[in-house]
Symmetry: C2
Subunit: 196 residues, 2 copies
Amino acid sequence: MMSSDRPPTRDRILDAAIELLQKRGEKPVRMSDIAKAAGLSRQAVYLNFPNRADLLMAAVRHLDDKQDVEARLAASRAATTGEERLSLWVEAWGNYIPLIHGVARALMEMQSKDPDARAAWADRMAGVRRGCAAAVAALARDGQLTADLDEGTATDLLFAVLSVHGWETLRLDLGWSQEKYLDQMKRLVRARLLAG
Amino acid sequence: MMSSDRPPTRDRILDAAIELLQKRGEKPVRMSDIAKAAGLSRQAVYLNFPNRADLLMAAVRHLDDKQDVEARLAASRAATTGEERLSLWVEAWGNYIPLIHGVARALMEMQSKDPDARAAWADRMAGVRRGCAAAVAALARDGQLTADLDEGTATDLLFAVLSVHGWETLRLDLGWSQEKYLDQMKRLVRARLLAG
DNA sequence: GCTAAACTTTACATCATGTAAAGTTGACGT
DNA sequence: ACGTCAACTTTACATGATGTAAAGTTTAGC
């Protein structure tokens, strides 16, 4: 009686969750908020997702699909020099953060109480770290990695500098534009990682 | 009947809270946990502090007193060159993070739900940013600030790089030692902020 | 017109914070 | 001794969110 043609319920829930989490003004987004936004009862949400953490992780994956993460990463992998690759990586991930930020934040907030959410997010961050490692490896391969940094340390540093929290601080708390953020992150990372 | 001689109840609560928050294995620290650790009923805690956020902020101030924050900062202010001052500031704040980390984390976790906690923490962070600004100003005064950075941007960058979250990532998630953390933060910051 | 899937409604368990109020205890002054 | 005050305990309850449970309703498809 509510859906005339198609958008599968599950996707409607995820879309609703994502939209709410992106514009969340002050108040935390509850399961009932998501249900309402999706035009469903709260229970119907639990019919599709066992719990909040699962819903949020599904939302992240849903975003990955919609935003074609692979294509973004392919661009950075196509770089010819390590230096170029590093910049493209900073840009790719830096431009992805705003998209997942709402969901990411909700997930991070759950980490203290929900061990599953913690594990799921840690896993995801491990993926990001691999992206950092690949960029650093390309740099090292080209002999462009500063002499006083080993690859592991450089990777950790890059990963820490490109954290979602860091983005939040600069972009939201301190009011930087996305362009400024990207520009400065590239400069910061190059200043520290690049040889010469 | 419980306190033979002196330690004022209020301080016992704060000390208990601080200790619990520093070693918190997995589980969040509840008001009842703090009460138990202080040898009191949960209600007695509410007799001393109106709510959790207030207790945590009091704990931060309690730590400030015990650790003599002013003395630490004085050391960095005593620096002769801007460059030296920057390093001393990174060291002072970087060495303070582990002390407040437990309490800070609890406070940060409350931010999403409790606007008061959010304001209180924001205020505190503003203080840290002022510390960053002072270090950057000293650098600029000595003509040692890189030409392509204005003081505001440099301050924001320094502040973001020295975040509690960044420390957590490197120190706890990635297993860095405190020495490595301090050393690398100094290098990172110098690489980006210092002229030449 | 039957069935099954998708949903709604209602109700309840749990858990932590915070409020409320009445009872206990011990130190202290007079 | 007596009373009183402050610091505490005990018990009880409100709230707000997640999550579980179960019975009822609607709709599409056959």
